[in-house]
Symmetry: C2
Amino acid sequence: MQAQTCNYVFFFSYPFNQNIMPKKTLPKLHSDFSVDCVIFGFDEGELKVLLIERNEEPYKSWKAIPGNLAQDKENLDDAAARILHDLTGLENVFMEQLHAFGKPDRHPQGRVITIAYYALIKSTTNGIHPVTTFASKALWWPAYDLPELAFDHKEIIEMALRRLTNRIRYIPIGFELLPEKFSLTQLQHIYEVILRKDIDKRNFRKKILSYGFLTELNQKQQGVSHRAARLYKFNKKIYEGLKDKGFYFEP
Amino acid sequence: MQAQTCNYVFFFSYPFNQNIMPKKTLPKLHSDFSVDCVIFGFDEGELKVLLIERNEEPYKSWKAIPGNLAQDKENLDDAAARILHDLTGLENVFMEQLHAFGKPDRHPQGRVITIAYYALIKSTTNGIHPVTTFASKALWWPAYDLPELAFDHKEIIEMALRRLTNRIRYIPIGFELLPEKFSLTQLQHIYEVILRKDIDKRNFRKKILSYGFLTELNQKQQGVSHRAARLYKFNKKIYEGLKDKGFYFEP
DNA sequence: GCAAAAGTGTTAACTTTACACCCATGT
DNA sequence: ACATGGGTGTAAAGTTAACACTTTTGC
């Protein structure tokens, strides 16, 4: 997060199809908008969302989803990746633009719309991926049981949850919430939590294996106090070939 | 489209999580962003998109999708509805936010992101719905064969097309492009064009009727030079009950 | 040996696909 | 009477859903 010096900018709030301005000197336009990021993780059988506690006004000491004003020369996607990276140290994370939120009164300092993203981050084998920077201020919270939140952030998370439920039916994104190597039961739990329903174990395995994008590893779980499960990896290449034909998975 | 007077606004370009500003007087933030709208119609067996010819800089006399800077106190959805209404006179049209586009250099006057929407408008029985205001500047263009366009508008339309292909599989939106009363063959053509494939007539009818959200009318087509087709209406209430259980239609 | 989760197959119900001819209407 | 699109049923193939017991491992 780069500090920005305080500066003044002059500008006209002109709709650009008004024809009353001098021909050659188009007015300068400028936007203050933020990029916010709903970060999901999966731990202890629960879907979690990463919240920060704000340490500035407005909404000082409220919980919020991480976000920031976008920098001047920055793509939206890059801004979202930066916010995620600053907070977690992670890169190459599954991320998708969610929605632009722009109620005129959503921000007390003026008209600030926000472009919301959501990200799915892989847990380590011991649990959710730890937060590196800002750790004292960031906390994982159960996604289906949210506290009061700053701005319209509750609305944003709720839309992200709906999007996730929707997406998992036609993109295999369950893997994004698991470690590289995972068992079929772990994967099934992701589907059960996100789709909010129980799934038959035998049918789930048959169907998910039938797509062929899971590579069976010659490895098993370690240190569990019951029969160790075989581990699998997601084979992105095979999926890429599959997805043009359409993919719909409602177990 | 309301004219806006020319004014100057002073503001600070502060990230709001910097802690160097005076406690009680938060800086005023302000955004210039536009709302653009991809308007789809269906006519002569083709999917069309409504383009305008710009009459101001930048991109004067280029073709573009209709759009405008958002007004200060306006919701994003309302701004999109206003743009559509100003151009077509229509209200209560199917409309959905598509995506926020924000490459830093997408607008020559500065950082102007745009929130893109897409809308589906019903054709009249004689063809596509006529454009009322701005008619001289607006034209229906084949959606799969676009001209050069201003800004990043081609990219926007292409994403809208992908979204439409996707949406039609799990929301029954084919109706939104047809008159209130339509024949099953008309509806099938919508699916064939948007999904870009031929569909078996008998199977299509069986499947779409099996959902129960089409009400059979005691009316037939008029003035066709062949056996007149029975007309149907979309019953929104029945669909609303259905959609919680999920809906996937890939004919 | 028991608790805990892994792993495995079959059948019936349902859904999808493929396919061809007669019907109604206007010219 | 012919051209145009409207309207209809069936059987085979494929998919989904329901269901219960044995295996492995750690304690």
